[in-house]
């Protein structure tokens, strides 16, 4: 009997909010699905769209980006700029045929351990339901 599908989800968390939120969820012993691989970034504004594409190219089934709530950015406005970038990026990615449920964005503060738990459960559920990513995976070896 084959194992049930467990998605690989790459999660980009802002250092100041969601990363802290994930930490708090951990120390609070909140249970959540173990499908995310966390990459810490200084700010959601640091997230270059190339990072998301790179994750998908390397076989991620889903990508989740999370940062501070609007107005709470450690660098004052990083997430405001990021929000515009994300909106256009998600629009174009879905336009070219990636399923809407593969890329997720959220605002989770460092105090919102329960919201973190909810979102990670929701994201994992959606990506799991979609199944393994069918497209956009680089199968040849990378050569310079």
């Amino acid at each position: 009997m084959s194992e049930p599908f467990e998605p690989k989800i790459i999660a980009f968390f802002c250092n100041w909010c969601t990363y802290g939120g994930a930490d708090l969820a951990g120390v609070s012993r909140l249970q959540y699905p173990p499908n995310i691989r966390v990459i810490r970034i200084p700010c959601s504004g640091r997230l270059d769209p190339k990072f998301i594409l790179s994750a998908f190219r390397h076989g991620a089934d889903g990508v989740w980006v999370s940062g501070c709530h609007p107005g709470d950015c450690h660098y004052i406005a990083g997430n405001y700029y990021a929000r515009r970038k994300f909106a256009l990026f998600k629009g174009l990615l879905e336009h070219m045929g990636i399923e809407p449920g593969r890329l997720h964005f959220s605002w989770v503060s460092s105090a919102e351990a329960t919201k973190f738990q909810q979102v990670v459960t929701e994201v994992t559920g959606i990506v799991k339901a979609l199944g393994p990513a069918p497209h956009y995976i680089k199968k040849l070896a990378e050569v310079a």
Partner: protein, 316 residues
């Protein structure tokens, strides 16, 4: 439109003789019909090669970034918008430029002309009012201009230059009631798998020559992401994922900057409709931020600014 040729030559002559500019960037006839090429004239005696007709589709704003000279440049509506974007992005200074504005009736697509010739070789293509007369060995055809417009020109709503120092002719009426995004909406209505296939077919012929990137005035990075290694964001191969990554990122770098001048599509040797990527972004930028690239000098491009109440329906 042919009257522009004389005006460009006169202006070029005057500007170069008076020493107002170091060079004039314009068009000259190519070696085959319907293939005008850009030319940089530095000497008043050489201004007679400057030329204008409806095959001046190359976007001359591409030759402006990071230059120190004083430049006179011929600019159609779209070229002038690209110049505005360059000015906003600090790639060129207004004092450096003398913009020779060319109100434009739309450029013609040489491929559409070729397509109507049944393989016959055109030796001459001349315009007469609303007609294009193509002559070759043993044939002479006359076509209606309107049917041969480049795809982007057919839906253009900024035919007059937005910024100019001299005008080459009277301003032309702008097209009204154009549906710019019918093709984008048609793709949006499909389900994800069908959308994937649309772009799969679209990109299938791509040989990654980067002509679309090189023809684009807005692509001026000293080091392009495709040439970066460590980390390498996109492989060098014709692998489908690499092709997608290239086209996707090329388009994304034009978010809120693309003026839909059609340079990319015009340059593509395989005739790929690469504007399908940038048009989606253009539509989204308009829907979300009510912004059109390169219309006014004031203000910042949409990705270089924000509003606290920007829509965020996609964020949990």
């Amino acid at each position: 439109m042919l009257t522009y040729t004389k005006k460009i030559q006169e202006l070029a002559q005057r500007l170069l003789t008076e020493g107002k500019v170091d060079l004039v960037i314009g068009y000259r006839r190519g070696t085959i019909p319907m293939m005008n090429e850009p030319v940089q004239v530095r000497n008043a005696e050489q201004t007679d090669q400057l030329y204008w007709d409806s095959f001046c589709g190359v976007n001359l704003a591409n030759y402006l970034p990071k230059r120190a000279e004083r430049i006179a440049v011929v600019a159609k509506g779209c070229d002038s918008r690209n110049i505005v974007v360059h000015l906003q992005e600090g790639q060129v200074q207004r004092e450096q430029l003398v913009i020779l504005g060319a109100p434009c009736q739309g450029m013609l697509d040489r491929r559409k002309v070729w397509g109507r010739l049944d393989g016959q070789e055109p030796l001459k293509a001349l315009e007469d009012g609303n007609q294009l007369i193509v002559e070759g060995k043993g044939f002479k055809h006359s076509f209606d201009r309107g049917e041969l417009l480049q795809d982007n020109c057919a839906i253009c709503t900024h035919r007059n230059p937005v910024l100019y120092d001299e005008l080459l002719g009277d301003l032309v009426p702008e097209q009204e009631g154009v549906d710019r995004y019918a093709d984008v909406r048609a793709i949006e209505e499909l389900d994800p798998e069908a959308r994937w296939q649309v772009f799969e077919e679209l990109l299938a012929p791509c040989i990654r020559c980067y002509a679309c990137r090189n023809a684009c005035p807005q692509c001026y990075c000293p080091l392009c992401f495709v040439d970066e290694s460590k980390p390498q964001w996109v492989g060098k191969s014709l692998d489908k994922t690499d092709l997608r990554t290239f086209h996707f990122l090329r388009a994304f770098h034009l978010a809120g900057r693309c003026t839909d001048c059609g340079a990319c599509e015009r340059a593509c040797p395989l005739g790929i409709k690469v504007r399908q990527f940038t048009k989606k972004l253009e539509k989204d930028v308009w829907d979300r931020y009510q912004f059109e690239a390169g219309i006014v000098l004031e203000g910042r491009p949409p990705l270089d600014t924000f509003r606290p109440d920007d829509q965020e329906e996609f964020i949990k």
